[in-house]
């Protein structure tokens, strides 16, 4: 059986130990290293080439977001699972922009960690349910208070399908195959979704999808 190698990065040893136990309990997962801060995590990714990095945002020297940006630049194949204390879109969006694919709240890390690792390895996204809930609440509140229309209603059924598949991490080609469309059409749909929802880039699109509860 092929083993997935996981790197843990957190400045708290106790937390790392707990996470390591959870990971090691899975037969196909193994912890290959533990880093104390962001800088060390980047170095260890270079030398150990793990498949997955589970990393805390709040770390000394180099914070998790910066470290994730460097890691995805150095090794695009390494999937980053971000751990955070904050269910807030500022954090989520920045983590996504930095290249993280999963965003877990530390409170529920032990419960969701394995699920998240498996999702990112498959190229999917994963968010703690609490994160999706908070983002959705923020979104709804804003809509309600400003009296604006929910831009999701502007999307056609086909565009909604494309939105979900893109947010799940599928490439244009995969989406085209799944929906039986040409790549060009998928690209057009994507552009129109971005325009209708006033989004810039895939991270914002993913955030939007999480917010709307389209993916989790």
């Amino acid at each position: 059986m092929k083993t997935l190698r996981v790197l843990l990065a957190d400045d708290h040893k106790l937390i790392r130990a707990g996470l390591a136990l959870v990971v090691e309990q899975q037969p196909d997962l193994s912890v290959v290293g533990e880093a104390d801060d962001g800088r060390q995590a980047v170095e260890m990714v270079k030398s150990l080439k793990p498949e997955v990095v589970v990393m805390d945002i709040g770390m000394p020297n180099l914070n998790g977001i910066e470290a994730a940006r460097q890691i995805t630049q150095i090794r695009p194949d390494t999937a980053v699972v971000m751990l955070s204390m904050h269910a807030d879109e500022g954090y989520v969006l920045r983590a996504l922009k930095a290249g993280a694919r999963a965003y877990l709240l530390k409170d529920s890390a032990t419960t969701d960690l394995v699920q998240a690792i498996r999702a990112v390895v498959e190229g999917k996204s994963f968010f703690s349910p609490a994160v999706s809930r908070v983002l959705l609440q923020d979104y709804m509140r804003k809509l309600q208070r400003s009296g604006a229309e929910d831009s999701y209603d502007l999307l056609s059924p086909r565009e909604r399908e494309v939105l979900q598949l893109v947010a799940e991490g599928k490439s244009n080609k995969e989406v085209a195959n799944l929906l039986n469309l040409s790549t060009y059409t998928v690209e057009t749909h994507r552009a129109r979704i971005m325009q209708k929802l006033n989004l810039k880039g895939v991270p914002e699109l993913i955030l939007y999808a999480v917010r709307k509860g389209i993916i989790s």
Partner: protein, 543 residues
């Protein structure tokens, strides 16, 4: 002792620093406290900042003596979490227990002296007026008396002269009618002369009496001469006229003239004497006036010197107080700046400890509980229930600790940068309150020094909290803008507004202090009923 209780209360929160213990011990007995205060008073001359006055509630004042400046610093360092209510009550020394301004007594004395001087001058003026009137009356009197004496004398002498002339005329006259008239004339003239003599004032000076007597005598002689002539016939008269004239009448006339001359001389003497008398009284008046004037001048001089001295003292006092005030103010500013710094440092370290120690332990606890929950065999629902409860409690604890740590030091500033932290803050406020917050930023570099980021963050935090809590605003907007010259921060809300001149809470003072410390300017634009705009501007060169 309420004062000591106040200190104990205050120090209670800072026991762990050790400084609190030391101070409390120092103040444990009244005698010790007095000794310390005395030593502080001694030091006061060298370094007034060694005393800090503390106040708890309203009127419990006490003084905390600090032996060294470094102690003071340490003490402040340990007071980072000073309750904000105390902050404005911390007053600097030098503003109380001052000597009062130059006494009321002195002021009263000066006032009385000025009044006295004025009265003196008024009295002098009135006196001069009275004396001048008196002089005038005296002069009139003298003139009248003189007139009463000299006029009858002159009339008398001229009447005698006329009588003499008549006699001459009679002697030389050839007219028979003249003879008849002569008798009448002579008797009329003699009657006139006698009446003048009888009318002469009774008060007479010796010289005057002599003159009068000689006139009387002359007249009697005249009459004696004239009476036989009247009985003469015309021829007889014709024959003897010339001889009689030469021998009797002319010498008589000469005597009359001489007497008249004497009268004139006497008259002029009298006038001179009166003049002298007047002049003497006038000189007397002049001397008195001069004395009064000199007295008034001297008093005025003394008074103006005293006033000048008084004014000088007032000026010096004012100058001293102004300097003291300026110094106190700058010390207070420095102190509050230090307080803000200390507060931020302390918050950061508490936050760090909470995060690193408590947070980590709780996190580990959660992990362990999770593992425990997973390890529970499926046949023990009761145990699983317990473990779930433990987990829920631990999760609440984690959340609480996290919130406290965040309040103390917003980790998003370190994790995400200023703008993201502000956005986070905005969403937090939106979640908790009825107010929707929008954050707008343009070209803000993330390389702003930490103290500026903290300042802007705290400013926005305070402003948004104020707006959400007090203004019942529905919308708020924060804009952060970086230009070539400065960084501008605006916080606007559509709440009920207030009068910034009257309402100046600690929050606003705190914001102002933070901004000013970094060389920025802070303004509030608000009116009751029309929202509020806070504006902070930081010049680029201080960045």
């Amino acid at each position: 002792m309420p004062a000591l209780r106040g200190i104990s209360w205050f120090l209670g929160a800072h026991q762990r620093t050790g400084m609190g213990d030391c101070l409390e011990n120092a103040l444990s007995s009244r005698a010790q406290r007095r000794t310390l205060l005395w030593s502080v008073k001694q030091r006061k001359r060298e370094d007034q900042s060694a005393i800090l006055r503390y106040a708890q509630n309203d009127r419990v004042f006490t003084e905390l003596p600090c032996a060294q400046e470094s102690d003071l610093m340490k003490f402040w360092g340990s007071c980072a979490a000073i309750p904000r209510e105390v902050l404005p009550l911390v007053s600097m020394p030098g503003l109380k227990n001052e000597d009062p301004l130059p006494s009321k007594k002195l002021r009263l004395a000066l006032l009385l002296s000025f009044g006295g001087l004025l009265a003196l001058m008024v009295i002098a003026g009135l006196e001069a007026l009275r004396l001048a009137r008196q002089l005038h009356a005296q002069e009139e009197d003298i003139r009248r008396t003189l007139l009463a004496h000299s006029q009858p004398l002159l009339v008398l002498s001229s009447s005698i002269c006329v009588y003499n002339d008549q006699v001459q005329e009679y002697l030389l006259s050839q007219d028979p009618q003249a003879e008849a008239r002569a008798a009448e004339e002579f008797s009329r003239l003699s009657g006139e002369i006698n009446s003048t003599l009888s009318k002469y004032p009774e008060t007479r000076q010796p010289e005057e009496r002599v003159l009068l007597e000689s006139l009387q005598r002359l007249f009697a002689e005249q009459q004696g001469m004239v009476n036989p002539v009247l009985s003469w016939s015309r021829e007889e008269r014709h024959k003897q006229a010339w001889r009689f004239l030469h021998e009797q009448i002319l010498p008589e006339q000469a005597r009359i003239y001489a007497t008249s001359e004497k009268i004139a001389v006497w008259n002029s003497h009298q006038l001179d004497a009166a003049d002298h008398a007047l002049f003497a009284s006038f000189s007397d008046l002049q001397a008195r006036q001069s004395r009064l004037l000199a007295l008034a001048l001297a008093a005025g001089l003394v008074l103006s010197l005293a006033s000048a001295f008084y004014l000088l003292r007032l000026e010096q006092e004012g100058q001293r107080r102004y300097q003291e005030l300026a110094r106190s103010r700058s010390e207070l500013e420095e102190l509050s700046a230090r307080l803000v710094d200390a507060q931020e440092t302390e918050r950061r370290s508490i936050s760090r400890e909470l995060h690193d120690e408590v947070g980590q332990s709780l996190g580990a606890l959660l992990v362990e509980v999770g593992r425990l929950a997973a390890a529970i065999p499926s046949g023990a629902p009761q145990i699983k229930d317990h473990v779930d409860k433990i987990k829920a409690v631990a999760e609440t604890a984690v959340q609480t600790v996290r919130n406290i740590a965040l309040l103390l030091r917003p980790s998003m500033l370190d994790d995400l940068g200023l703008i993201a932290a502000l956005e986070w803050q905005g969403r937090e406020v939106s979640r908790r309150s009825e107010m929707e917050v929008e954050i707008q930023s343009a070209e803000v570099s993330e390389n702003i020094p930490d103290e500026y980021r903290i300042c802007i963050y705290r400013l926005v935090q305070e402003a948004l909290n104020n707006a959400a809590r007090h203004s019942s605003a529905k919308n708020a907007k924060v804009t952060v803008e970086q230009t070539a010259d400065n960084i501008l921060v605006n916080v606007w809300d559509d709440g009920r507004g207030f009068d910034p001149q009257r309402v100046r809470g600690l929050g606003i003072l705190g914001m102002e202090e933070r901004v000013r410390r970094l060389g920025g300017t802070f303004t509030i634009d608000s009116k009751p009923g029309s929202g509020t705009t806070l504006r902070a501007e930081f010049p680029r060169k201080t960045l």
